[in-house]
């Protein structure tokens, strides 16, 4: 497996996990719903952001995955999906294209 395929694969898995987070949010109510749907959006945003700033992408991953995982720790599903988002999302961000430097004036 070459690096490009590996990057696309980990990115696809991260997007799939973001969709699962969104599904959990849709199944929930109140705060958990907001955390699930908002978390899914942040995790999805982290993938393209990684091309510009890996640090910002990791921040988005953490901000997207951790709140629901903590708030719904008892649900088993949310902390497990959150943990996978951090693991696979970090892999996708790390193996993706390096951030591009701004062009010289």
């Amino acid at each position: 497996m070459n690096d490009t395929l590996r990057t696309w694969w980990s990115t696809g898995l991260t997007a799939a996990l973001a969709a699962l987070y969104g599904w959990l949010g849709l199944a929930a109510h109140g705060l958990d719903r907001a955390l699930g749907l908002g978390g899914a959006v942040l995790v999805l945003a982290a993938v393209p952001v990684a091309r510009r700033s890996r640090a910002l992408a990791v921040t988005l991953l953490v901000a997207g995955a951790v709140p629901l995982a903590v708030a719904a720790w008892w649900s088993i599903a949310a902390p497990l999906v959150g943990l996978l988002i951090l693991l696979l999302g970090w892999t996708a961000v790390r193996t993706g294209p390096a951030p591009t430097a701004p062009p010289n004036p």
Binding site: M1, R6, W9, S10, L13, A16, L17, L20, W23, L24, L26, A27, A28, H29, D32, A72, W74, S75, I76, A77, L80, V81, L84, L87, L88, T91, T95
Partner: protein
């Protein structure tokens, strides 16, 4: 070439590990997908929501509407949450009928708990009268020839009036969790509960708060739970009212659920995700009875009557129990019916079994009085969750 082959080894190993990691990740994501689907299907994140719980939001609507009484009636306590009631609304009255399809079989062979449950519904409806602008007048068992017709509540217009017990109707829930053993109950609790017994109800409260009496009744309750589980017919009839699937809860809108079991959120989520067998359910019931229900009770209470087969006394006992539970709710107390001993006594009578529990219980009771309902009470340690309810419209005869 040699240098190149040496350099390629770490690269190859890294690629292999990377591929293996992503393969494992793919499997993990597939598993997470299954878990997420299961969590959504089984309502892990939807506790207390959906059609099965809508009655709790619909109960108090403004205006002089006889249906208001029905909406309060369906929120009454009932054994195993069987909700064995049917209503017919007349021009100036409401008739309450027993629904024989909602019996508990060998768990309630003498229909004691069914009539007590119906009495609870009567009391909630009576309490809902004045806030809706009705003055209720109750006749229990209005037609002795028709045992299924348990009450007629005549309604006449009256000024709107509210009561603390009525306000507690939507807050009253059976608390099956642990009670606070560090905060005993004062004598005022027994007095307050006795204050809910009407002078002409024919009901008496036996209060078991001493360590000795609690140990005796608690031990009997654990033994009775074991006996029910060991009795194949009773065990099957008991389990028939446990609702283990979210879809089943939403369609049936009755029965005992894992959410109302008093278990921790983690245990409830695990039970929903993995499912529970009858054996697991019974093991959990016995363990909870022994280690939580009996072990943390601050006191037990038993409601007694002279004639345990008298339908009117059973209904009056239900009315008393409903008022007691509502009063306890207004005081922030937790209560839970604990009727295993009585269920075994009824089983012994109905099936001609040796009177082990009948005799053991008789030693606790005053002469000439018979138990119709037993409960535990104490200070709560956690909040309670809603139990499913059939809306009033579902229980209304046309």
């Amino acid at each position: 070439m040699e240098r190149g082959s040496v350099d390629n080894k770490p690269v190859g190993r890294r690629r292999f590990l990377g591929t293996a990691g992503l393969t494992a990740g793919s499997v993990a994501v597939a598993g997470a997908g299954g878990l997420t689907w299961r969590a959504a299907q089984e309502g892990v994140f939807a506790t207390g929501t959906g059609p099965a719980y809508a009655a709790w939001d619909q109960w108090d609507r403004p205006g002089r509407d006889m249906l208001s009484l029905l909406r309060a009636g369906v929120l009454a306590a009932s054994a195993h949450n069987t909700q064995p009631w049917l209503f017919r609304v007349g021009r100036d009255h409401i008739d309450l009928y027993a629904d024989p399809r909602r019996g508990m079989g060998s768990m309630d062979p003498l229909r004691r708990e069914m009539y007590v449950s119906l009495g609870c519904a009567v009391e909630n409806m009576v309490l809902a009268g004045p806030p809706s602008g009705w003055q209720p007048a109750v006749t229990l068992m209005p037609d002795p020839a028709r045992v299924g017709h348990v009450a007629r509540i005549r309604l006449s217009p009256a000024p709107v009036a509210h009561s603390p017990l009525y306000a507690a109707v939507p807050k009253r829930h059976t608390d099956r969790g642990a009670y606070d053993t560090g905060r005993p109950l004062g004598a005022e609790v027994a007095a307050g509960l006795r204050g809910q017994i009407g002078a002409d109800s024919g009901v008496r409260l036996l209060w078991l708060a001493s360590e000795k009496s609690r140990n005796i009744f608690g031990g009997l309750t654990v033994r009775a739970t074991r006996a029910i589980i060991a009795d194949p017919r009773q065990a099957a009839d008991d389990f028939a009212w446990y609702r283990t699937g979210w879809r089943q809860i939403q369609s049936r809108k009755d029965g005992i659920t894992i959410d109302a079991s008093g278990q921790s959120p983690l245990i409830r989520a695990a039970a929903k995700l993995l499912g529970t067998s009858r054996e697991q359910n019974q093991d959990g019931w016995l363990r909870a009875t022994r280690d939580t229900h009996v072990a943390t009770a601050a006191a037990f209470g038993i409601l007694l009557v002279r004639d345990r087969l008298d339908a009117v006394r059973r209904l009056e006992t239900g009315r008393v129990w409903q008022r007691m539970h509502l009063w306890a709710t207004t005081r922030g107390l937790a209560v839970q019916p604990l009727n295993q001993v009585l269920e075994r006594i009824d089983r012994e009578h109905a099936a001609g079994l040796p009177p082990h529990f009948t005799d053991a219980m008789a030693d606790l009771l005053p002469t000439g009085w018979h138990p119709l309902l037993a409960f535990r009470t104490g200070r709560p340690t956690a909040g309670t969750l809603l139990s499913p309810r059939r809306p009033a419209e579902d229980a209304r005869l046309t």
